[in-house]
């Protein structure tokens, strides 16, 4: 075993021990503790927990890599996955906290005085959360297999056992405090290599400034200018300009922002604080904690991209450093000597290019490419696992609460006792973990594609219903339900047609359908159109049907005023 592996084992074991310790300390004794951690979490802890909940394996492992290959276009993820918090803080969190229930379907069901609305919301929550959680469990398996050389499936099972332990035992209470720890682990693991590399390349210890700085070789050239030059030399697009159309960039960013604000596992975190002002403040803190990673990721992308091109392009294959062959065995990087000259040609033109690189390598192998110390490399595994586990746990709780609270307690068996509901919650959490683990081990081919689309689904279904519920007092159930159903169906249709090509002969046909995209908008960005359609349908149907009952309008009046939120959760 080499140094890197020893460090990896030690750091992963330490972090897992910490999570289990926290789980034992914070067991949930009531449904209120299980669903919303008792409703007394401090804004600071909730901010960190929300940040960890939010930043998934994709944010930690894949995002910087995606940006490093997309250049400017990567901004859709950076803005899309942060800008949604402004919407959350200003338009949703304070009012939902004042409303003071346990789940998002709770709000939809009561605000629209309708079991149908509640069931539609449960259905949306389950679709969004399951697609998302399968990707996380897979992420856990991949980190295990790459760093600890265990089988992917064994990795998934280890991850399942850990999540099972603290989610089933502690519910939201256990999850909240483990997420605080996981945030600390993941941000440390992301920042340390970034700072090292920033110093190495530009002499600037702050990565956010470093990637706009001059190179440390004394040439006085700006790093970004150099990367633009290298990219165009090899036939790629200039790094700082994009290749997507403006309308598509606009639509994807909007869909991701609105989707973020509509994701149930994020919204539910704001039910856990004591007062309305705490909900506002913790949304701000959450974004601050998220922004630390999200402003560093584009810097890492530039460092890694420049490093990769400089290390491999036009160099002798036999003289490649040790990491190259190590990552070759995992299949993440591959070289095919097409012209037989023993050198690596890395260019844009596919017929000459000899190097294929998986985008994930930009974060996973970056510390090795930059020759950082073994303990820094070991950190990456612990960070990736923290990111995947924290998000998985948050999602599992949404699934469990949707089933035990919204379906069983509120629709199927209203007479269920508090104790019975707590057991139902625990059992549904356990079942959800097993189902998620199953999808992690046998991933349906579409998981990766669907995770991005979970945002589109959330944007197309929840967001308009919640916004109208708060800001439009006269919105009735007929309008909201038709809006959600039409929005969701439209989104599903567009996704099936243009992402999976099921109406035109399957996956192979997808590339040929690009010219048919409505308004030139990709399936990833279509959530913004479906959202607008949802709004329109809801408002039109609403004008032709009767106003909501007086007492519902009274609820809306009431959630707009912050005072009295502390009591609101108890009734």
């Amino acid at each position: 075993m080499n140094d890197v592996q020893i460090w990896t084992y030690v750091l992963v074991a330490l972090s897992f021990g910490l999570y289990i310790g926290i789980a034992i300390w914070s067991r949930a004794a009531s449904t209120k503790e299980f669903y919303v951690a008792g409703g007394g979490v401090s804004p600071l802890a909730n901010g960190m927990a929300t940040a960890a909940d939010w930043m998934s394996a994709a944010s930690f492992i894949s995002m910087a890599g995606i940006i490093s290959f997309a250049g400017y276009d990567g901004a859709v993820y950076l803005m899309g996955w942060t800008g949604g918090y402004v919407l959350l803080a200003l338009l949703l969190a304070p009012y939902l906290r004042k409303f003071g229930k346990f789940t998002v379907p709770d709000f939809i069901g009561e605000r629209y005085y309708s079991k149908t609305a509640r069931v539609v919301a449960v259905f949306c929550a389950l679709i969004v959360s399951f697609t998302y959680v399968a990707g996380q469990m897979r992420g856990v398996g991949i980190v295990f297999s790459r760093y600890l050389e265990v089988d992917i499936n064994t990795g998934v099972v280890i991850g399942m056992v850990i999540v099972l332990f603290y989610a089933v035992l502690g519910g939201m209470k256990g999850i909240t405090y483990t997420q605080v720890a996981q945030y600390c682990v993941l941000i440390f693991a992301f920042m340390v290599p970034a700072i090292f590399i920033s110093i190495q390349m530009t002499g600037n210890p702050i990565p956010q400034l470093g990637f706009g700085d001059t190179l440390s070789d004394g040439s006085g050239t700006y790093l970004l200018d150099k990367l633009d030059g290298l990219s165009t030399e090899l036939g790629f697009a200039e790094y700082t300009s994009g290749s997507k159309s403006t309308i598509d960039v606009f639509a994807i960013t909007l869909a991701l922002m609105v989707g973020t604000a509509g994701l149930p596992h994020v919204i539910v975190r704001f039910f856990t604080v004591k007062r309305v002002r705490d909900a506002r403040k913790s949304a701000g803190l959450a974004l601050l904690f998220i922004a630390i990673l999200y402003t560093t990721a584009p810097a890492v992308a530039v460092f890694a991209r420049t490093n990769l091109i400089e290390t491999v392009s036009g160099k002798e294959y036999n003289e490649m450093p040790e990491w190259f062959s190590r990552w070759e065995t995992t299949g993440l990087i591959a070289h095919e000597d097409k012209n037989g000259d023993g050198k690596i040609q890395y260019v844009a033109a596919p017929e000459i290019n000899e190097l294929t690189v998986d985008r994930d390598i930009m974060v996973l192998a970056n510390p090795e490419i930059s020759d950082l110390p073994a303990w820094v490399i070991g950190l990456i595994a612990a960070g990736g696992l923290a990111a995947a586990l924290s998000t998985a746990a948050g999602l599992l709780l949404v699934i469990s609460a949707s089933v035990s609270h919204d379906l069983i307690k509120n629709v199927l068996n209203p007479g269920l006792s508090e104790k019975g509901e707590l057991w139902a919650a625990r059992i549904s959490a356990a079942v959800a973990v097993v189902v998620a683990g199953y999808f992690g081990i046998n991933p349906p081919g579409f998981v990766a594609a669907v995770v991005a689309l979970a945002f589109g689904l959330a944007a197309a279904s929840f967001f308009p219903a919640i916004i109208l519920g708060i800001f439009y007092k006269k919105m009735n159930s007929q309008g909201a339900i038709s809006g959600m159903v039409v929005g969701l169906c439209l989104m599903l249709f567009y996704m099936l047609k243009f992402k999976f090509g099921i109406f035109d002969g399957g996956q192979e046909a997808v590339a040929g359908l690009q010219d048919d995209w409505w308004f030139g908008i990709s399936p990833e960005g279509f959530g913004s159109i479906a959202m607008v359609v949802n709004f329109i349908v809801a408002i039109v149907v609403n004008t032709f049907t009767e106003d909501p009952p007086e007492e519902v309008q009274e609820i809306v009046e009431n959630i707009r005023i912050p005072s009295g939120a502390g009591d609101a959760i108890d009734h």
């Binding site: 918090y85 403006t246 922004a291 707009r560």
Partner: protein, 85 residues
Amino acid sequence: MDTDLRKKYWKENLKYLSILLAIWFLVSYGFGILLVDELNTIRMGGFKLGFWFAQQGSIYVFVILIFVYVRLMNKLDKKYGFNEE
């Protein structure tokens, strides 16, 4: 509770929201997407300004916007006596 007071409070809240969301739109969709090519002709050290807004600046502004909102609303709650202890 006084309905008039509630209405006034809500109106002021909506005014804050529209100003803050206008800024939110301007820095991301405006500077980062629609005007990116124009702004890219301006440079700030090694950054082209449009690129910087898209990958850095807009995120900083988002964080600031939320904290400004928190302050404004805390003040507003106090002014109308809707704050909680």
